[in-house]
Amino acid sequence: MILDGKCPSGPLAEKWDKHRQDMKLVNPNNKRKYKIIVVGTGLAGASAAATLGELGYNVEAFCYQDSARRAHSIAAQGGINAAKNYPNDSDSIYRLFYDTIKGGDFRAREANVYRLAQVSNNIIDQCVAQGVPFARDYAGYLDNRSFGGAQVSRTFYARGQTGQQLLLGAYATFSRQVKAGTVKLHSRTEMLDLVVVDGEAKGITVRDMVTGKISSYAADAVCLCTGGYVNVYFLSTNAQGCSVTANYRAYKKGAFFANPCYTQIHPTCIPVTGEHQSKLTLMSESLRNDGRVWVPKKKGDKRPPHEIPEDERDYYLERKYPSYGNLAPRDISSRAAKEACDDGRGVGPSGFGVYLDFADSIKRLGENTIRERYGNLFEMYERITDENGYKQPMRIYPALHYAMGGLWVDYNLSSNIPGLYVLGEANFSDHGANRLGASALMQGLADGYFVIPYTIADYLAKSKPGIVKVDHPEFKKSQEDVSALTTKLLSINGKRSPKEFWRDLGKIMWENVGMARSEQSLKKAIQLIPELREEFWKNVKVVGSGDTLNQELEKAGRIADFLEFGELLARDALDRNESCGGHFRVEYQTGEGEAKRNDKDYCYVAAWQFKGTDKEPELHKEPLTFETLQLAERSYK
């Protein structure tokens, strides 16, 4: 099937305005009769629930955490982009749009990205009005910085905790609506199924994580704001509870999964220390402005760094990419680190790490300057590793960080199932094959505050409220399915813990579907994952019972979905015979190791349709047409 993104016609800059005029409205008196389910309370979910509640809709919000304030958006450090052009450095909506499309390696929709750039400015105004304490200059104006290699300073920030502040801002407005009674929050409640009635999304089935009760909620529309799926790699910078479950179960109910192979790797994370490792911690990329990346030239060189003389060090980024050096883009420097370690030249106890050395900068600028710039990061590094980054080089290693792929949505953020909307990282829409720094926060809030309130009304206005009630047989069936799955997980009583399977899956994914993918490695993953899945269903041991708080059961359910989703991700990666953005196929690279796109054959969105757990999914394509931009090669030489 050829998918239609439903982008409005007309000149790029006028599409959104025109579309807003064309969409239907819901009468203010009728809004409260419409119930909308919002799953997830991160930037997208909290902002959507708050805005829809404020408009008068009857919103039910769900999150697996104990509070809406804890969603993983909170961990974003760097900042949020907007085309304000406050620094007068010639930024504009067009420029932000262009940078985002180019950064995404021309794999995103023009119309979506332009709209994102347009509403970016409203986001800043909105957040300032909420009392988000953005950084200010001495005159009291909002401060901006350049981020992620952008040539303009368009990033707004709140120290190193921008995500936290934006989320708490959204959480505050959300809380106001909870108080007002327009939003009802169900915390510690995990969505385990999407209920589709006559082809339209009409509710969800959830498990109360405290009592174990499985129940359903009916609504007129469902918004999934459930984040990304990179925990399929086991180790990532995501929170422990981040999973693909909500999205995957919607996928199993017919929603298309788009571009799952687009995953982003962050080069400056703190390396793994052993099998016990549960997550990876990211340090701001800005460290690479003053740190030099190196490994020993000799394989297996176990000498401490200060004993390795200068001429026995390999400053591989400076060597391979003389003009960008240590500032080479995320994917390039990540791959280079992996290559060095795979070559046996990795450092640290595990051998999976490279040095990030500040000795030269400290000599040149003094320790105090470095402390001023990165003091908090050095502290964090020391807290975790017990090493002093001023005295010895830091050790870093790449880690999975963000998912550009997600459920397929059209311009209205509607999935292919009418009534099912997908927002934020959970959808695939705006970042193409690679996301720019400080753009994730922008997208989550854009979707929630400024897009969904308009587009969902257009859908709701076309139907009567409350047509489907929770006593509909589909809900009963959904609950039975979910209960059966829970019972099945608990009854296997095998030998291995869920975590062991998760770790094994992570290894398969990291080795074969990680930073550098090949036809061979992907085929291997597609063979290994079903084997592991089969073993899981025979040999997993889930202790405890289903009618109480059971973290092992929660984990097992999520891992079960990862064990299917990992295969889908690998299949998508295998299908995409090109390298672009976060998807790198070793077969498709330029002589200099740059990603080589194939615009002739792969300038499309790959949207996968579920056909059965052990059946191959069906590929649908949405061709990407560029009306305004010329496709160009991404070059960082």
Binding site: H72, S175, H276, V543, G544
Partner: protein, 246 residues
């Protein structure tokens, strides 16, 4: 290293609870405290026993989910460190470690080390926001904010809502949490409009939830993993006086 753990086990809010002893074997100093508990839980799974339930999520010290009183100190006592960022190198082979949940009437126990902190959410719901509407906000630079004010506001805004202050407070008071939000918003022109109303309803809600009263022990400040200062409580008190004399 090997450690002796005394962990609070309680099946549910109404069941009796007790400290149960576990041995954590072969613990690497590089493990985080939660990873050490993961290892203990993996062993329990092997033995077919129910795992120790504890709250955690981001494991990088920002989400505020992890909540354990370790050897009598919330978050374990390392300066500005949440449980998830506490590492085992701070302990010695053979150490005994007592692990208990946050204890407060306003935080009913859910299971083992997990408590229900929704009372903190309700304090925010009472008035911890600016009642602005989505859309129609003036330009971000329309109201200038002196940098020092923005900095104080940000200092207060760093609160992660973990509830460690309540757990530490001899009175089980949530004053530091409440004061952080009151201060963050009172420092900004956007938040000043509702400042008088806010301080009253938030402190009222705090009491309704069953938190204790602040009696200036400052135990909260030392326990806070984000360095939230008790000077914000003084600021809250000022805001309250201002609101009262208005």
């Amino acid at each position: 290293m090997d450690l002796k753990l005394y962990v609070w086990r309680q099946k549910g809010p109404d069941s009796p609870g007790k400290l149960e002893q576990f041995t954590a074997k072969n613990i690497s100093p590089d493990m985080s405290f939660l990873e050490m508990l993961d290892e203990v839980n993996e062993e329990l799974v092997k033995e077919g026993k129910e795992t120790i339930a504890f709250d955690h999520d981001c494991r990088e010290g920002i989400c505020g989910t992890c909540s354990q009183v370790i050897n009598g100190i919330p978050h374990g006592g390392q300066d500005k460190t949440t449980v998830c960022q506490l590492h085992m190198r701070k302990f010695k082979d053979g150490d005994s470690i007592y692990i208990e949940p946050w204890r407060a009437k306003a935080f009913p126990l859910v299971k083992d080390l997990i408590v229900d902190r929704s009372a903190l959410d309700r304090i925010i719901q009472a008035g911890g926001y600016v009642s602005n509407h989505t859309g129609g906000s003036p330009d971000g630079n329309a109201i200038l904010i002196p940098k020092p004010d923005a900095e104080v506001s940000m200092d207060a805004a760093e609160c992660i809502g973990c509830g460690g202050c309540v757990a530490a407070c001899p009175n089980g008071s949530a004053m530091l949490f409440t004061a952080a939000k009151v201060t963050q918003l009172a420092m900004l022109p956007q938040g000043k409009v509702e400042a008088a109303q806010r301080v009253c309803v938030m402190t009222e809600q705090m009491l309704k939830e069953g938190f204790g009263n602040c009696s200036n022990h400052y135990e909260c400040q030392d326990a806070c993993p984000k360095g939230i200062k008790v000077s914000f409580i003084a600021k809250l008190n000022r805001e309250f006086i201002k609101a009262s004399v208005k």
